[in-house]
Amino acid sequence: MFDTALTTSDLMFLAKGAGMTLAITGVSVAVGTLLGIIFGVIRVQIGPIWSAPLTFILDIFRSVPLLIQLVLGNAFQAIVQFGWEPFTTSCVILSLYTAAYCTEIVRGAIDAVPPTTRRAARSLGLNWTQDMGYIVAPLAARIALPSWIGLTLGVLKDSSLVLWLGMIELLRASQILITRLQEPLFILMICGLIYFVLSFPIARLGGYLEKRWSPND
C-alpha cells in the first residue's frame, strides 16, 4: 500500500507557503497592472520617441532573467540601505517585472481600438478622458484580457523564484519537506496540484469574462 510520512502539519506548512505565493502574486499583479496601465497610456500618448527612455527601462525588466533581477535588486536595496524585508523586495521587483509586460499589453490593446471609433466619440463632443474611459478602456480591456490572464498565470509561477531571497513560498516549502521526508515525487505532485488549484480559477475567470463580453462584439 501507499505509505507516506507526510503529516497534516506538513500540509499546513505547504498551505502557508501557498498563501505566501498568493500574497506575492496578488500584490505584484495588482501594482504591476496599475503601473502597466499608466506606462501603457503614457507610451501611446507621447509617442515612441519621447517614451524611448521609459521603453528602454521596461525592456531591461523584460529581457534580464527574473532570478538575476531579484538577486541584484536585493543587493541594491541592501547597498543603499532601504532596509526592505525580503517580502517587500520580492514584491517591488515582481511588480516592475509585471509592469514591463503589462505596459506592452496595454499599449497593444489601446492601439487595436479603431481610430475611427475614437474619432466618432470625439466628434460627439466627448473629451479625451471620456473617450478613454467610456470607449477605449472597455474595448481595450476585451482585447488585453487573454494576454493579461497569461501574464498573471506566468507571474504566479515565476514568483517561486523569490525563494532565493529566503522567502518560504510554495516551492520553497516543498523543498524543505523533500529534504526532511525524502519523498520528492509525492511532495512535488502535491506542490504542482496546489499550483494548479491556484491557477485554475484565474484561467476560468478569463474564459468566463471573454464569453460574457463576446456576444456584444
Partner: protein, 240 residues
C-alpha cells in the same frame, strides 16, 4: 452659419485644400461632389475641428473653430458628423450608443437622455432595435443608428461624409431616405456624396471639388444641367 475663409490644409507635402472659401447659411443643404482625393472629406473633418488647418479660418455661428480659446467639445455638440464607416461603439447597446454623449457631454439624466434617444431612434426607424448590440444590425441600420446618435445631441448642423459608400446597394436607399427626411425638416447639412441623383434632389446648392479647389458651386440645376467648368463637365460625364 458656417463660414469657411481661405482654408488651406496639407498632409505632409500633399496640399489637399488649396484655399477654400465657402459660406453655408442656416437651413441650407449643400452637397459636395468630386473625385477621390479632391479634399471634400477633409473639409468636413476640418469644420468640426477633428483636423487642424494650416491657414485661413472656419467660423461656426461666429465661433472660430481652430482658435485655442474655443471649447471645441462644446462646439462639437452643435455640429453632428456621420462618417463613411459606421463607427458604432460595439460594447454598447443601440440605446447606450445614442445616450452616451447626451449623458456624458451634456450631463443629462438617464431618463431624459433615453427619451431623446428613443425619439431619434424612432425617427430613423430603429425604435425596435434599441436593446440589441450593433453587431446584430445590418450596415444600413448601423449607419442610421450613427445618424440618430449624432442627432441626439440636437446639433444645429449635420455633416455627412460619404455615408452610403460602405453600404450594399440595396441598403443605400434606407439611409438616403433618412437624409431626405432631415433635409425636409430644415436641418442645415453639408453632404459629401457620390449619389448624384440624390444630390440633385435634396440640395439647395452643389459644390464641385477638384484637386483641393472648389471648381464650381451653384444650384443643382446649373451644376447638373449646365456646368460652367470643364472639370465639372468631365467629372459628371464620367459618373453618369
Amino acid at each position: 452659419m458656417i463660414e469657411i475663409e481661405n482654408v488651406r490644409k496639407s498632409f505632409g507635402p500633399l496640399e489637399v485644400l488649396k484655399g477654400i472659401d465657402l459660406t453655408v447659411e442656416k437651413g441650407e443643404v449643400l452637397t459636395v461632389i468630386g473625385g477621390s482625393g479632391s479634399g471634400k472629406s477633409t473639409l468636413l473633418t476640418c469644420i468640426n475641428g477633428l483636423e487642424p488647418i494650416d491657414t485661413g479660418r472656419i467660423l461656426v455661428d461666429g465661433t472660430h473653430v481652430h482658435a485655442k480659446s474655443t471649447d471645441i467639445n462644446k462646439l462639437r455638440c452643435k455640429i453632428g458628423i456621420v462618417f463613411q464607416q459606421f463607427n458604432a461603439f460595439p460594447h454598447l447597446t443601440v440605446l447606450e450608443n445614442v445616450t452616451l454623449a447626451p449623458r456624458k457631454v451634456k450631463k443629462m439624466g438617464r431618463a431624459e437622455a433615453e427619451e431623446i434617444a428613443i425619439k431619434q431612434l424612432n425617427h430613423v426607424g430603429l425604435g425596435e432595435k434599441r436593446d440589441v448590440y450593433p453587431s446584430r444590425l445590418s450596415g444600413g441600420q448601423q449607419q442610421r443608428m450613427a445618424i440618430a446618435r449624432a442627432l441626439a445631441m440636437s446639433p444645429d448642423y449635420m455633416l455627412f461624409d460619404e455615408v452610403t459608400s460602405a453600404l450594399d446597394p440595396q441598403l443605400v436607399g434606407e439611409v438616403l431616405d433618412t437624409l431626405k427626411m432631415l433635409a425636409d425638416d430644415g436641418m442645415t447639412m453639408i453632404l459629401v456624396t457620390h449619389e448624384m441623383s440624390f444630390a440633385r434632389d435634396v440640395s439647395d446648392r452643389v459644390a464641385f471639388f477638384h484637386k483641393g479647389v472648389m471648381a464650381e458651386i451653384g444650384p443643382p440645376e446649373q451644376i447638373f444641367g449646365d456646368p460652367q467648368n470643364e472639370e465639372t463637365r468631365q467629372f459628371l460625364s464620367n459618373v453618369r
